[in-house]
Symmetry: C2
Subunit: 535 residues, 2 copies
């Protein structure tokens, strides 16, 4: 059989509209039937679905009704990804969603979708398939979940619109598992379309905007790109943990409800706590440092981090997932910088090695250049970065912080010079870092602190922390901080504390930048920003 | 050399008191010196620490001053756990805390501690060690961190008070890394003592109560038992993820800030959210179910869960770590029950296999019986559980919920009959479960739901969820729930949803019960309850 989606492109707009209308009407009918059956959940109607006495397909199609665990079938469902030419001639059972459904005379073509994979199923009225069965199947609304029993057949030409291009299923049985409403708030195909318009005809195709996507997130998440993005995001967490565990890090969990605002009271969410109030932690830093003072040596934690910033940008969320680490070092904080650098290389290599299919699926919708990195990672001094910017015509002071445009420009300059999308900037000016940052021992204009960048945007900020309580107090006072407010923080270091350094990484930002995506809402499954609290 | 802690037991109380006083005085002196040096962080005073011109140890002891990363030493520090009889005769550098320090004439004995491990270090005035060095070392306060260079020596008799019992270090160099204050709010040795009193003499020993421990958590966490508890807790998370990843689960992250109270509005913390308000999620359930409706198939998430319950019991926290999973199944929710059962067996076996030393360290302070489990897991019907309770004299209705005492009694009965500390209770009465629980297809008195228990306490509650929107609405109405309030929840299932089941596990509870501990505050690094928000 041919490629039905490609065929569809040739059909006239008018005919398409009519076909859609007919399909919708039929779908509503099928749905009402499915709903009636669903409302009667105690009735096992598997055997009663076919109607006429002369139906050759009787008992080979229909609705299961609501699956209520009345029977544990020993049937094996084959993943769509396993339906390859190796199985040609075999009968398989497959469960999937109807991605595309099209009837054409005595034939019906379905594309069945399962996460990133899809396969074509064909029904043709004949020896095994009755008119009644064809009618039933072609009336099932798109996005419904069905079980198909079919024979794997080689296709004469590649089916471009499916992941399984060399085979299709010649359908023998079709059972409805769960019906979708016929009217969808968005079409998965529209949501899966690249933003970039290919040609004039493509310009007529619907694109789904970010808010519509997020309002209907469960449909939006069904696109191949989204299926892949969140699998890759899980991969980043796995690789982060794996890299650090190998080096002796211990996973810890830190409280999100805290008694005092962790970073000075700005941008913090307040919580009613019984008769009093509390705050949501803006960072697990204090707790990571306490774990170090408590002899856990090297720790990491993955968890929610909250920022009450009223920023509606492409890269800010009010709640995100923090990948935080902290490490006691022996003699020099570069031991920690090296550890973090290696960890990122482990992540980048692991993604290339294990998530090739996902990256490809994402790039089909969101094209991007492959992510370049050096091994070992490129480390530049802050002063070198400033020099590069000055050479490019930027005027700035030695100890001025990097503005967002300068940060991005520096990323481009570094890429041009060193061909890397990842680099480390070390020895930031002391003046632009928090009070607990250790000054450089040679020159207090600088500090033992670092940022790391992906495609020119900061993804981790870290430093050697001051582990000496007297010096910490002195630095806090120099910053005009009321030391009585941070007494418990300072006291954490009074009973012997090893020198230590660490940092915090935003998970969504790492995934966004690795993939070259344009908005952090694309890498948060259920994003939170000042204007969005649902779904 | 002998075992200094054992020797200590024989010393008279009076002498001990005097020695302690002297030590404290000396320690204060040493500390002031260390502090003075620490306040002068830019000065590298390594070479200036020894004073007199005729000091044979000159340059072999002193303080590093605050380690500010001025030099990256290439020295290799040997972990204390690696200091075994294999290294006898070799010189090693070791970093650790002074756990015990005792001077005796021209000798000084230290026990150096590193997480769960410890080793004895000996200094004796002679060829390599001057009086000045001995004085310096014996004046360093307990809990300070030091670097020791020493020769590994076999000991004539086992040193019971150290983890390294066959060797000690003959000290050649000692450098102060970070000084502790001399006066400690609790002694790590006291915090490490078993609650059970061994004998009359032991009854005089100080025990540290729960609040003092938590108020001084960074010291309390340094005990071998606590070092082991939180390493084992990290192990539970690792094993949970490993078991589920192997079965194709995808890790997801769900928002903690939500727009409406997830479970009806009781026991929920309110958050100020810019000009409006929001809530803290009591469970990731809705989001897990949405991920299932969005085709992720099998998902898990580890994250903070919040309960505004004003319960001050041994097993309630206001914030805990949830290990949550949700899984689309094919035909029967027992596919999910089996998956969770296997996962627990993977965890129990993994702990036995990889955390033997930690379990031993914990049992030395908190004795418990080894955790027993069957493979495959024991599954009982709720009605069977009720029968067992009735046989033991309990009067209860068929569809009455398990009270906490009955839950515990049933645990004892199951243990006596089946010799397992882990079992699954299936088919709970529908009446005691939430509206979204799928009724049993045979008899609506029961439901497709389950709890699992460790040592007679519930650690996971789960069920097949209703995936049909019409039936879900009908059940909500029967529960008297205003369906307009949960519209978005119901709408999640309108576009085709596979049958699914899942559950949520409390991490701290699993660790507490596995180890037979008596309080959940022992397994939360920084616990939160209605009365505690710090540290």
């Amino acid at each position: 059989m041919g490629d039905i989606a490609a065929e569809g492109d040739a059909v006239s707009k008018k005919a398409l509209k009519k076909a859609q209308k007919d399909a919708e009407k039929a779908a509503r009918k099928a749905q009402h039937k499915a709903e009636r059956e669903a409302q009667n959940p105690n009735k096992d109607d598997r055997q009663e679905s076919a109607t006429s006495g002369e139906d050759v397909s009787k008992g080979k199609y229909g609705s299961y009704g609501m699956i209520q665990s009345s029977e544990r079938l020993e049937r094996t469902l084959t993943p769509i990804s396993s339906c390859t030419s190796k199985l040609v001639g075999q009968e398989v059972w497959v469960r999937g969603r109807i991605h595309v459904s099209r009837s054409k005379g005595k034939q019906c073509f379905l594309i069945l979708r399962q996460a990133c994979c899809s396969i074509q199923c064909v029904l043709a009225v004949g020896e095994n398939v009755s008119r009644e069965m064809l009618k039933f199947v072609s009336n099932i609304p798109k996005e419904s979940i069905i079980d198909v029993c079919g024979k794997v057949m080689a296709t004469p030409s590649k089916i471009d619109s499916c992941s399984q291009q060399d085979v299709e299923l010649s359908t023998l049985q079709t059972w409805l598992v769960s019906a979708s409403e016929a009217r969808l708030p968005l079409q998965v195909d529209d949501a899966a379309r690249p933003d970039v318009v290919k040609n004039e005809e493509d310009a007529l195709n619907i694109r789904v905007n970010q808010d519509t996507r997020l309002d209907n997130r469960i449909l939006d998440l069904r696109t191949p790109a989204n299926q892949a993005i969140f699998r890759l995001e899980a991969g980043v967490c796995h690789l982060f943990r794996e890299s650090l565990s190998k080096k002796g890090f211990v996973e810890i969990h830190t409280p999100k409800i805290i008694s005092a605002a962790s970073e000075g009271g700005a941008n913090v969410f307040e919580v009613s706590y019984f008769k009093g109030s509390a705050y949501l932690a803006q960072s697990p830093q204090l707790y990571k440092q306490m774990a170090i003072a408590a002899d856990f040596g090297k720790v990491y934690t993955i968890g929610a981090v909250f920022r009450a910033e009223d920023s509606n940008t492409h890269r800010h969320l009010t709640e995100f997932v923090g990948l935080d680490l902290e490490m006691a070092f022996e003699y020099h904080y570069h031991e920690v910088v090296d550890t973090i650098g290696h960890m990122f290389i482990d992540i980048f290599k692991g993604l290339e090695r294990n998530y090739g299919a996902e990256i490809e699926a994402i790039r089909r919708q969101y094209p991007s250049e492959p992510f370049q990195f050096l091994e070992p990672s490129l480390v530049l001094k802050y002063s070198e970065g400033v020099e590069m910017l000055r050479s490019a015509g930027i005027e700035m002071e030695d100890d001025e912080d990097l503005s967002t445009p300068n940060e991005k420009l520096l990323g481009r300059l570094v890429k041009a010079k060193y061909n890397t999308d990842f680099y480390i900037l070390d020895k930031f000016p002391l003046a632009v870092r928090p009070f607990y940052t250790m000054p450089d021992p040679e020159n207090t204009k600088w500090s033992n602190s670092y940022d790391m960048f992906m495609r020119g945007e900061e993804i981790i900020s870290g430093a050697q922390r001051i582990h000496d309580p007297e010096f910490l107090m002195q630095r806090a006072k120099q910053h005009g901080i009321d030391v009585s407010q941070i007494k418990s923080y300072i006291d954490s270091f009074r009973y012997g504390a090893p020198p230590h350094a660490g940092g915090g990484i935003g998970l969504e930002r790492v995934v966004m930048l690795y993939l070259g995506l344009d908005n952090i809402r694309k890498t948060s499954m259920f994003p939170r920003d000042p204007k969005r609290l649902t779904p």
